[in-house]
Subunit: 244 residues, 6 copies
């Protein structure tokens, strides 16, 4: 039985709960699951500075997870903070949710659009498209210009409605076959929007779970040859001592 | 219980048997499997002409499969012949094994190398790298310069040894973190080479099975919006009548 | 005296007649011409599935043409179906009309726009741009959202007017120096639109004729070294026996 | 009857004679020809400075040619000096021989190699590949490290033999289907090397003649919309007065 | 004390004066400055033909400058005419103002927009973006559709206001962090627009001065190895004799 | 008088001293300098994990520097760790040394090679090339396969000799006009190697100083519009409290 850890890189419990809900409805029987958030850091991630801080929180949980016998990790923030560093740290495979959503979209549509929170986050997503190779597959990126936390505190449903209207606009204008929801805080909307729009609306959290289950099923782990080799042994000092 | 069809685009029973063996050792309990080969066409696929012919055989089996209630299809030849056409034909997701291997490799290594049969086939793989977005992730492509059937009739093990030597060379020279075996006829070698080399050696057939199981688990199907919409209704004539 | 075969990949006689008209007004004295359509297959080509079927019809006519002593072939559908396979099949040069139009446009303008039938066909044209190297030369692609056959049955002239209006819009907005008509069914409009707009409006059929005449004049044939080498000898079965 | 001018951008009569020989053996009956060289400038072109000087000589001849009723121009130096400026200056189409060779090569082979004189010239060719869109079609560039004039004063045939040996190496190593001779001074070797190697060896001069004859046959001229519009009227001073 | 020459490639004294003003307000104490314009050529530069002519004027001044002991050169026209040729001609570093503006923009913003004079000039800027590597950093290019001289004869301030309005539009729509003024004639506006918009508006002239002062401070000169090696010695004839 | 802070992202005092030496020999009179290293973290940086840790140390010093009135920052490790996050954190410009070296190299040579420590670090440099836009300008990357600390403890001079030999090989083989030393620990070698090889050997530390002095001279600061806007105010917890 494989054991997967899903890490919310921010410290927000409400988003962590959303992630937990999505993950539990996605896992295959036979997969054990642990959903955690960063123990310290930022309550939400908007921009490179937030990502830099969140990365350390991710790496701590990767390390903790390894001690618990975790077989594979998911980083559940759309900027995939700490993904490459995490791949060095352990042999267990690590998947980011932006990566997962993008990979998945290209398997069922030629072109996709991304709906994100703030423009500054979409500029990070744009770098990921380039890094992963999917720049030509992305037709357009749209931001609803709401901060991440507006999604978790959306009692009136106005954020939800903004995302829905954006999806409708994408379908009518972008010539994209699929839509990616560019924030883990949007994850619960994917299924209902898929149905309403009759077009795949992809959430990276569930996509990452399936990709990771697949890798574990294949017995594949992160390559330790050259690029993702373990960090060279060196003594970390100060606040990083717990990462030794 | 999901029902997957794996289509060997050529008519070669020996390769079909290899594929069958790999698939059966890969599927998750709860997945029903059907491995078929093209009913007519070419005994092996080396080049664009062979692919063009094989594509029709693939589409026939996609159509047959649909009648049988297939939930997802795999095209088990490294050139992914007919992949885009098949995605139009049915709503069920369709995965190619080159695509699957390349996606998988980028999730556990930054860079990969491909080992293929003939140079002309690698030139097709090069186009796929560009189409899928992975040109920058592929460090090098190496051909063993043996036709596909040399793999199925390899009683002396010399083809196998050639592949093994090529893998060793890749590990020492290419700075690639993973190796992709660029022919379904090589699929059975992936696991043992992974162990011997201590570096992921990826076979697209098993990779495709896992990706497809994942998509089915997510309830995602090929987008019918714009690019992969069903073919417009029109009457096919002549030898294509069975595709109506 | 060189002998050129122009193949309409679909079975539509009306489009074949249009192609024939364009070709006859284009050939240089000293070129013998044969215009044929696929003997079997699809009446029009919209999408990858149609292309896959049409490809076989193209290859049959390539093979037939070879027996008749054809010196060079043109594939007269804007998706260039079967182009790479055809190049393997014979030594005689083979030119696609999308390819021809794109090459020609870049020789008289820095940037061009494409006007096509349906969005799904333009998504195929986009792949060709990437394959041929002209992605950066194409400013925009516009679809009139009419199926191919609306062009051949255009008694009211409304399709023609839609194309004309689209050309005017391109000239005013796209900063493109040339326009490519993205369907052989539009071929007859190129000359009059060029005059009206005072900007080159390019039809791939006539462009392909000239390119092919040029190659024949140079004595150049498709390279049989590596990528386009003849298909390896193998016995084709079933409906493909006539391709043996 | 169309009237083509071929401009050797340098002042070297020996190269001009080579070009003249190639052109005369290439033109179709019905094409009138004028081969000229720059009236002033550099005796051979190696690098950007030489190109800058040669460009003026080219533009002078373009202007002169226009007065003589020239229908189309060819710039017969592999760096295509002055090509874009010349396209502004006249409505008649203008073709560069590097451009012509590269376009032609991609129509009969997937990939080509270039054999040039000096490394610094190949670095210019590399920019042209990027500008024209063919970077991915060029497998390798090889310099024989001889200046241009070594080709015209090759009594011993040693330059010719160096080129021949380089072609053989390309065929055995590069996986390229075609070879481009990257200097007009090599033009006469193309046909014999094509025969000896059984692989297309392309000379840009003859390729340009055929492309230009084709454009003239189509009645296509350089687009005057936006990018290649005529130079704005302004008074040139000093040594440029003859360009007014 | 380093000695910098700034070359206005056109013969316009008004633009030269603008450049002079910008340069003098930018240089560091310890830098001696010489601002010149082409002695002959075109009064303004719009398009490739104008650039070809201006290039010779630039090269003459580069050569003159060398005799005067100039340590570094700036080419002060946004198309960077003659830049690569000038780098061959002397060992002293040479910087173009388009190049300088683009480099500078990417150091303080992820993405920039360019505001230019005519569309045909922006098409040249687009090639420079590709050549320098910054295509992905440029969000959009906007032309005010006024010729260069409208900037120098802008008594009513209407050209200035057009540029200002365009900047405001960029800030509101383009998601660009910086704006590049794409003409040396706009150079004086950069500082005030930066202040008004609270977003960096970059002028290439001052940017080039600082880059060049930096290179001189590092003791770095143009590499003479391979690509920018000195022109091979050859006798220039006719109007180019002064370049010998 | 401008005040620059140079941050060594690792905690190694020997490398910090090297950087200090280089910086002091580079600054212009009128620039005040502060060279610091990370207060906590890793003693050397080899790979993504080390970079993630070092990034926090960089951000702490950026924040400290701001309190001290620093006008501009340099991140003196060749992977440019924390560069984008630092640009969000303050308005003062921030320059990375890889960025600085690459920008500088393209201004004096068409193509450059990079000499680095370990292959895994060069794979990070490869991503930077893509991010900054210089992939096409880099001919080759060579690693000496020594860890960073071998450079600081190089009493025998064997590391230095390895670098020198590698430079000689680059000059003879790569057709690169310049060499970039890909580690701040190599910075002191640049000048002497430039002299010995008669080809620019570029060290990013000094290059960054000059670029930063230039930006400060222009009065340009990091754009706060969209991408690099200040981090949204949120309360950092745990070990990150000092970053609040």
């Amino acid at each position: 039985m494989s054991f997967i850890q899903v890490i919310n890189p921010n410290t927000n419990l409400s988003i962590t709960k959303t992630i937990d809900q999505v993950v539990r409805s996605t896992i295959t029987s036979g997969t054990k699951i642990l959903v955690v958030c960063a123990k310290q850091g930022v309550p939400s991630i908007e921009g490179h500075f937030d990502e830099a801080v969140a990365t350390i929180g991710v790496l701590e949980q990767i390390k903790n997870g390894e001690k618990k016998g975790i077989d594979g990790h998911i980083i559940a923030c759309f900027g995939d903070p700490g993904l490459l560093a995490a791949r060095e740290l352990v042999r267990a495979p690590v998947i980011g949710i932006a990566e997962a959503a993008m990979h998945t979209a290209t398997l069922i549509a030629k072109r996709f659009s991304i709906i994100g929170t703030l423009s500054r986050n979409l500029s990070i997503a744009k770098s990921l498209l380039q890094q992963y190779g999917f720049s030509n597959h992305c037709t357009a990126m749209h931001s609803i210009e709401l901060p991440v936390l507006a999604l978790t505190e959306d009692k009136s449903g106005s954020a939800r409605e903004k995302i829905r209207q954006c999806c409708i606009k994408v379908k009518n204008k972008d010539k994209s076959g699929a839509i990616i929801l560019g924030c883990s805080g949007m994850a619960l909307l994917a299924q209902e929007l898929t149905k309403e729009l009759d077009l795949p609306v992809i959430d990276g959290v569930s996509a990452a779970v399936k990709i990771l289950e697949g890798l574990l099923g294949l017995g594949l782990t992160t390559s330790k040859h050259v690029d993702f080799d373990f960090p060279l042994k060196k003594s970390l000092t100060g606040i990083f001592e717990n990462l030794n």
